[in-house]
Symmetry: C2
Subunit: 251 residues, 2 copies
Amino acid sequence: MTSKLIQLDEVRRICSGCNMRQLCLPAGLQPGEINELDQLVQKRRRIKTDEYLFRAGDVAQAIYAVRVGSFKSFRLREDGVWQIVGIHLPGELFGLDALADRCHQVSVQALETSNVCALPLADLEAVSARMPSLSKQVMRMTSRELNSGHDNHELLARRSAQERVALFLCRYADRRRNCGLQADSFDMAISRQDLSNYLGLQLETVSRAFRQLKDLGCITANRSLLEIKDLSSLRDIAGFCDNTPDYAYHQ
Amino acid sequence: MTSKLIQLDEVRRICSGCNMRQLCLPAGLQPGEINELDQLVQKRRRIKTDEYLFRAGDVAQAIYAVRVGSFKSFRLREDGVWQIVGIHLPGELFGLDALADRCHQVSVQALETSNVCALPLADLEAVSARMPSLSKQVMRMTSRELNSGHDNHELLARRSAQERVALFLCRYADRRRNCGLQADSFDMAISRQDLSNYLGLQLETVSRAFRQLKDLGCITANRSLLEIKDLSSLRDIAGFCDNTPDYAYHQ
DNA sequence: GCCGCTTATTGATCATGATCAAATGCCCGC
DNA sequence: GCGGGCATTTGATCATGATCAATAAGCGGC
């Protein structure tokens, strides 16, 4: 039994056996190509909570994919204020912001004990000519990142505190479901401090928004433990609160 | 004289003679490669103010580069509220958000009479194996887009109205300077309505922020005509207003 | 030039979220 | 179990920006 578990664990180490293979770099590749990818990817690097994977300013060595756990990317503004700009869940790529000038623009820290795969940039460039489907998949995943940036814009612009929190929770649950994790009851690795920073709100404001959502029966929340009781009303709160006619009738 | 002007105009039509060649797709390519790129790019499509280049939901045909003028990308939320998520100036690429599933996620409209080049997706894929430096440059430009998404997050999260407006103006001026346009006195093609939507503020709030910046002597503004009188104090207002110690001393 | 439309500005009031302050609860080491 | 430190919650007050309302300033059409 033990040896079987270890074998299973071994299988999951390789891209073709990984749970994330439908979402991550192997998607759209031929079996032979996946094997080739496997040779390049540095797998299963274990990162503990709050450990840095890299820091803004570091020369970029690789692009990264979350296998297990989650990460935050953030910037330190010139005035010393930090801003979280991204949360990364399993199957998502990050470190792509460094491709412009080979230098990381954000710092990345693990939000919990996590597991990350790295594809060295030198290898990526070397094989991209040989494996067009790989560079195509990298582009697809980068494009997804761009859209999630637009999601963030929408999240932050012209939304009340309650809407922001509700929308964040809906999306977080969706993303968890998408990568095969429990989506209605889970431990949010992200602290209130980090969440409020990400959402552009004060800690206290986020806390109060949680309270309201609890009182409405949408969720239960105890510290980082979250349970979504009524997803559909949570969605309503997230999206359909204000209908400014000015904007509603714009062509 | 007239014929000389026409000749010059002809030269600018081709990538190797284009003013934006250092910023845009030709950057980093060999002269031979630039000629090849030239054959693929559909050039100088003229777009009038408010004309759509494409709409969210359209099947993506190409990626686009601004040659002259400017564009806005925006989404229509399910509840009918629209949100501008990007402003595109000369030398910048857009339409990249469609690479994930070949379908545009945003609509794009010209903010003024503009000029755009298009690289068909089919061609991009076909030549990327043959021209690794081109796909590398596309990735570099996409990476820049990702970072500008992070800039937007920073712009919107936890900043006062005045800071948002000042920061927007600084960045807008920087981007204009970067692509060779007049940066201290110019016509902002973007309306107050669009600007306020982009910044997540009300129209009136943006108007008041302009007034304050005028009163401080940082700018003069008459409708869309803007003059930056004191860039350094504008930068100060944009970045160094609040120093929340909580965030300032975070590792 | 004049009229009507759209865009921008200014004013007054109100609601939301920031800020200041305190209390509570939880986790960890001893 | 106890105590200290940290994260979170709750409360009270205040400032900022949203909202409502009205005016002013271009701009195009005739």
